[in-house]
Symmetry: C2
DNA sequence: CTTTCTGCAAACTCTTTGCACTCGT
DNA sequence: ACGAGTGCAAAGAGTTTGCAGAAAG
C-alpha cells in the first residue's frame, strides 16, 4: 500500500524532469538505462503510471503516436508540431485562449486546434451522487 | 491513384454517419458486418483512413482508449465523460470557449480541459517555405 | 485489361501483466 | 521478515501490412 522510494522510481521521474521535452516511454527508458542499465521497460511503464497517479507527471496522448510524459502538472495547453512531432507547453495567463497571437508572432504556423473537456455527463453525475 | 467507389467504403462511411456517436473502429466493424458479413477489420481500417484523408471523417484520439471516428468534420470541440467514456460534440458559437456555462447548466460536471494547437514550429515552417 | 480494393492472416507497435526473486522499510 | 518493487518474457490491445484473388473503371 505504501509507495516505496526506489532507485528506479527516482530515475524515471528525473528522466521526465531532466529536459522538459515530453519524452515518450521509449525515451525515458533510454535515458534511465544510462544510469540503471538493467532496468526493464515494464518497470519504466509501471513507474510512469505510478507517478501519474500521484500527480507528479502528466500524460499527453496524440493521434497515432506513443504517449508522451509531461513534467508540468498544472493545467496547461500544448502545441504539437506536425513537421517534427515536437510537443511544447503553452502558458496561459488567464482564462483566455493562449497561443493564437503569441505563437504566430514567434514564427509558428497554426493549422488547427482541439479542445476537449473531461468530466461527467448528466447521467454519470447522478450515479456518482447516489453511489 | 483514383479512389474507387466500393460497397465497403460506402458502408464504412454510413456506419460513422448513421448515429453520430463517435464509434470506435471495432463498432464500425460490427455495424458494417450486419450488411457485409465478410468484410475484414483490415478493410475497415483502410477505409476509415481513406475517408480521413479525404476529410470526410475525423479521428478523435483519447488517452489509453481506442480511436473514435467523428462524422462532424468542421472544427469543433468534444466532451468526454470519464464515467461512461461517451464522446459528445460541442458546438462553438463564436471564438470563445464553449461549454463551461452551457454544460454545467445541463447537469454536466466539468473536471478539466485540454487544448492542443497543431501546426508547424518556426524551424519546420522555414523548411516548408524553402522546400 | 489495368489498377485499386478486398479478405485473410500474420506482423507490428505500444503497453500491460504473471511470475519468481530482490530490496525498502 | 513482510510486502511492494523489480527484471524478464510472454501476452494483450489496437492497428497496419503483404499477398493472391476479386472487382471497379
Amino acid at each position: 500500500m505504501t509507495v516505496r522510494t526506489t532507485r528506479q522510481l527516482g530515475a524515471v521521474l528525473e528522466a521526465v524532469n531532466l529536459r522538459r521535452d515530453h519524452p515518450t516511454a521509449q525515451e525515458v527508458y533510454a535515458r534511465v538505462r544510462q544510469r540503471l542499465p538493467r532496468i526493464s521497460r515494464g518497470t519504466v511503464y509501471r513507474n510512469l503510471s505510478k507517478l501519474q497517479q500521484q500527480r507528479q507527471i502528466r500524460i499527453v496522448r496524440l493521434a497515432g503516436r506513443p504517449a508522451r510524459y509531461d513534467a508540468v502538472v498544472h493545467e496547461h495547453d500544448h502545441f504539437v508540431c506536425e513537421g517534427c512531432s515536437a510537443v511544447e507547453d503553452l502558458v496561459t495567463g488567464n482564462g483566455r485562449h493562449p497561443g493564437a497571437v503569441d505563437l504566430r508572432a514567434s514564427g509558428y504556423v497554426l493549422r488547427r486546434r482541439s479542445i476537449t473537456y473531461f468530466g461527467l455527463c448528466p447521467r454519470c453525475a447522478l450515479c456518482a451522487k447516489e453511489g
